[in-house]
Subunit: 140 residues, 2 copies
DNA sequence: CTAGTTCCTTCAGCGACTGTAGGAGCAAGC
DNA sequence: GCTTGCTCCTACAGTCGCTGAAGGAACTAG
């Protein structure tokens, strides 16, 4: 199999060249073999690994979590408790953010509903922001 | 009215001292009058302005948007279209994030549901991450 | 007077990239 | 063989919205 240049790896994984170099520096991707002219060369395994990383990032996993998941995938004989824990923690995190974002949505929607389109003096948006007492919830 | 020190302003607005100085540097708060010993002194107007800022940040508005909203609140005779636009854009942004986050939640939940607790070799979490084809949605 | 707290400036760090400058290499057309 | 334009290299600064630390000065209470 012929070596893959960083640009082609980028195209095949939809990860930007600069981001690939960043992942290398962070230790998510192994240091690749270089050509005589000092250019990085990759193989199919790198394509798979980078797709794994990109996919996990799309699902919102942090780089630190991805490191753990990558380590795990390199040891298929170990129990998957750790992967489970990482995913569970991530789910809890998502639920948390969803709850807060739903609260915000309600609040901002209410602000907009009250705006009558007059001058700023009468604008509820500005007023609501100026006074937390106007809010639906105590804590945002 | 007696001048307010930065620490007291911090206590009264629940905004950290460092953050207050940061907001000053970013132009959200005006440069305060200093004492002979070079300490910042604030008044009630600053308390109100900072509460406005904090509240808007809690509702997820960006600093740039807050600058716009603050400018508007200083011109009560102008129409509130602009405030409305800022809030509307923010709502659209929240809806966007909610949709994506809900998608992620589903995906991660599905991953967890399939994990049978065996070795990593059989773990669906790792497998799903390795292959986007396993996903519920095409685009995350 | 002393100890403890508050305040000052300046600057580095977070996470996860993104972009730029300034250069070298390479592939294709003439 | 030369030029044009793309790709690649390193090194480093910038993004957003803070946060914290270092090192020093000043205020406050006992």
């Amino acid at each position: 199999m012929k070596p893959i240049a960083i640009g082609e790896l980028s195209r095949r994984t939809a990860v930007k060249v600069t981001t690939i170099r960043f992942y290398e520096e962070r230790g998510l991707l192994p240091k690749p073999v270089r050509t005589d002219a000092n250019r990085r060369t990759y193989g199919e395994a790198d394509v798979r690994r980078l797709r794994f990383i990109r996919h996990a990032r799309e699902l919102g996993f942090e780089v630190e979590d991805i490191r753990t998941l990558l380590d795990l995938s390199a040891h298929p004989e170990r129990p998957c408790d750790e992967a489970d824990a990482v995913a569970r923690k991530h789910l809890a995190d998502i639920d948390d953010r969803l709850a807060r974002l739903n609260g915000l949505r309600q609040e901002v929607q209410a602000m907009l509903d009250q705006c009558s389109g007059g001058p700023v003096r009468e604008c509820r948006i500005i007023e609501v922001l100026a006074d937390h007492g106007e809010c639906l919830h105590d804590r945002h």
